[in-house]
C-alpha cells in the first residue's frame, strides 16, 4: 500500500494511491494536482546520514578533513524543515551552491532499542523519498553540517508516498535518480550504501531508543549540482515514488 497525507476541502486527510491520483479515506478520488501534498506522515526524530555512498564521499573529498570513518556520520533535523510533494523550496539570493540530495527515507514502525542487525528490518514501517537540500555557502565547521546549511525551512522534501515495508522486498536494490528540468543529473542504487539499513538501525538503537514515526534519511550518491530559481527538481526511487519540487526565489517570501 502507498499512503499519503493531503490537504483538501479544508481538512487534512489520509489517502492511498489510486489510478486517477489519490483516494481519501472518506472515498473521494482526486487528481494528483487537486490536492495539497503534505509529508506522508508526521515525523518525530529525523536522523540524516552524511557520506553514506562511497562515490559521494569521493565527490566531496576536497572539503573533508576526515576520510577514514569508523561509525556512520549521523546528524539530526527538525520537523519544521519539511514540506511535501509538489511544493516550493526557497533559494536565498546570496546562495551560490545549493544542491538537492535524493535519499531513501526509512520510517521506524515500533520502538527500537539495542536491535541487532539481523532483526532490524522488522522495525521498519515503510519507505519514502527525501530530497534533503543543502546550501553549502553557509557551511561552518562547528557541529557539521550546521543547521543553517541543512535544516532550513522548505529545504527537506518528503513524499509523495509512505510505502509499506511489506511491499519493498529488498530496500537495497532500488535505483534512484534526480532530474533537474527533465535531465538526469544524479544516479545511484541503494545497494551502494556504506552503512546499510540494518547497520544504521543497529548503530542508532545501540545508544538511543528509536520510536514509531522516527525517520532515517540514508544519504545520497554522487551527482549533486547547483540548482537555480525556476528549476523543477524530481527525486525518484524505483518502487517508492517520484517526488517533485520547484526552486523559488526570495521575492515569493517577501524578502
Amino acid at each position: 500500500m502507498k499512503r499519503a497525507r493531503v490537504a483538501y476541502g479544508g481538512a487534512i486527510h489520509d489517502a492511498v494511491e489510486h489510478g486517477a491520483g489519490v483516494r481519501l479515506t472518506d472515498g473521494r478520488v482526486l487528481a494528483e494536482d487537486a490536492v495539497v501534498w503534505l509529508p506522508p506522515f508526521e515525523p518525530e526524530t529525523i536522523i540524516a546520514l552524511g557520506l553514506n555512498y562511497a562515490d559521494h564521499v569521493k565527490e566531496l573529498s576536497k572539503e573533508l578533513t576526515v576520510t577514514a570513518k569508523d561509525e556512520p556520520l549521523a546528524f539530526l533535523k527538525s520537523p519544521g524543515a519539511l514540506i511535501g510533494h509538489r511544493a516550493q523550496t526557497r533559494r536565498p539570493a546570496d546562495a551560490t551552491f545549493m544542491h538537492y540530495e535524493c535519499e531513501l527515507a526509512v520510517v521506524i514502525g515500533r520502538s527500537a532499542k539495542q536491535v541487532s542487525r539481523a532483526d532490524a528490518l522488522n522495525y521498519v514501517a515503510g519507505y519514502t523519498v527525501a530530497n534533503d537540500y543543502a546550501i553549502r555557502d553557509y557551511l561552518e565547521n562547528y557541529y557539521r553540517p550546521n543547521l543553517r546549511v541543512k535544516n532550513r525551512d522548505t529545504c527537506t522534501v518528503l513524499g509523495p508516498w509512505l510505502v509499506d515495508a511489506a511491499d519493498v522486498p529488498d530496500p537495497h536494490a532500488l535505483a534512484l535518480r534526480t532530474l533537474v528540468n527533465g535531465t538526469v543529473t544524479q544516479q545511484g542504487n541503494t545497494s551502494d550504501m556504506i552503512s546499510d539499513i540494518p547497520a544504521l538501525i543497529e548503530y542508532l538503537s545501540s545508544f538511543m531508543t528509536l520510536a514509531p514515526g522516527d525517520v532515517i534519511l540514508t544519504g545520497t550518491p554522487d551527482g549533486v549540482i547547483n540548482v537555480n530559481v525556476g528549476d523543477e527538481v524530481v527525486t525518484e526511487i524505483d518502487g517508492i515514488g517520484r517526488l517533485v519540487n520547484t526552486i523559488v526565489g526570495d521575492a515569493l517570501f517577501g524578502r
Partner: protein
C-alpha cells in the same frame, strides 16, 4: 503550548495534563513527596553552541586552526531528540561506556507562538516562558562533527520542572545559574554577556528556521561544565526560573 501563560506550567507524572500553578507550588510538591515530573513541553529542543563568551574563549586560537578554520559566524545549533527529554526528579542512566557525564546547565527559551523572521526588538513577544535545561553530554573535545552518541542518549536532556511565564522573568539576560552535585556548588554562571542575548538569538535563528510553539531554544552552556558520575545528584538552579534535580544511575551494558 499556551501563549497566555501567567504562572508556571508543569505536569507531575501521573497527572493527565500540564497545569498552571505558582513556581513555589511545584517546588514544594516536588520537595514534599519526591514527585517526578514530565518534561513541561514536547517541542523540539535546540541547543546553541559557543554562545557564552567564556566557552568561545576556551577554544582560544583553535577556532582559527583546522578543523574549524574560522570563528563561528551564524548561531551554531544542534538538536536534542525526543528520546533525551525527561522531567524533574527522573533518574538519568549513565551509559556503561561513559564513566562520567558532562552537565550542561542552561536556560531554555520556550516559544509561545510561531516565530519566523522575527526582529530582535519584538523577539521576546514570541516567548511563552523559560525553563531549566540540563544538556547532558558524554565528554568530548571536538565540536567539529560530534557523534550523536555524545548528546543523544536516552534521558540526556532533563528539562523543567516548569515553564515559568515570560512576564515573571523580567530580564532573561541577567540570570544566575548554579550547578550543585550532591549539594555542593560546582559551577556558577550567568546569562549576562552572551554572544547573542535571548532576543538576538531568536532573531538570528528564525531568519532561516521557524520555531514553533513548545519548541525550546537554549542559550548555550558556559565554559568548564562540571562532570558527574552514577550515584550523584545534579541540581541546576536558575534563580527566578526553577530548580531542576536529577540523579545519575548506573546503566547496564549497552
Amino acid at each position: 503550548m499556551r501563549f497566555m501563560l501567567e504562572q508556571s506550567l508543569a505536569q507531575p507524572t501521573g497527572e493527565p495534563l500540564a497545569t498552571e500553578a505558582s513556581a513555589e507550588h511545584w517546588q514544594a510538591l516536588a520537595a514534599a513527596d519526591g514527585s517526578t515530573f514530565l518534561p513541561p513541553t514536547r517541542g523540539t529542543v535546540y541547543g546553541t553552541l559557543l554562545n557564552h563568551r567564556d566557552a568561545l574563549a576556551a577554544l582560544e586560537d583553535q577556532v582559527n586552526a583546522a578543523p574549524y578554520k574560522a570563528p563561528p559566524k551564524a548561531p551554531i545549533l544542534y538538536i536534542k531528540p525526543r528520546n533525551t527529554m525527561v522531567g524533574h526528579h527522573v533518574p538519568v542512566v549513565v551509559p556503561a561506556d561513559a564513566p562520567e557525564l558532562e552537565i550542561g546547565a542552561t536556560l531554555g527559551i520556550v516559544i509561545g507562538r510561531t516565530a519566523s523572521r522575527v526582529v530582535e526588538a519584538q523577539a521576546l513577544a514570541f516567548v511563552a516562558g523559560y525553563t531549566v535545561v540540563n544538556d547532558i553530554s558524554v565528554p568530548h573535545a571536538s565540536v567539529y562533527r560530534p557523534s550523536m552518541r555524545f548528546k543523544c542518549r536516552d534521558g540526556f536532556c532533563p528539562i523543567g520542572p516548569a515553564i515559568v511565564a515570560r512576564a515573571l522573568v523580567p530580564d532573561p539576560d541577567a540570570l544566575d545559574i548554579d550547578v550543585a552535585i550532591d549539594g555542593a556548588t560546582v559551577q556558577r554562571s550567568r546569562t549576562a554577556g552572551l554572544v547573542r542575548p535571548v532576543a538576538r538569538l531568536i532573531a538570528d535563528v528564525t531568519d532561516f528556521m521557524t520555531l514553533f510553539p513548545g519548541d525550546v531554544l537554549t542559550v548555550g552552556v558556559a565554559a568548564h561544565a562540571p562532570r558527574a558520575q552514577a550515584g550523584q545528584t545534579v541540581t541546576i538552579t536558575i534563580h527566578g526560573v526553577g530548580k531542576l534535580e536529577n540523579t545519575l544511575v548506573a546503566g547496564g551494558a549497552e
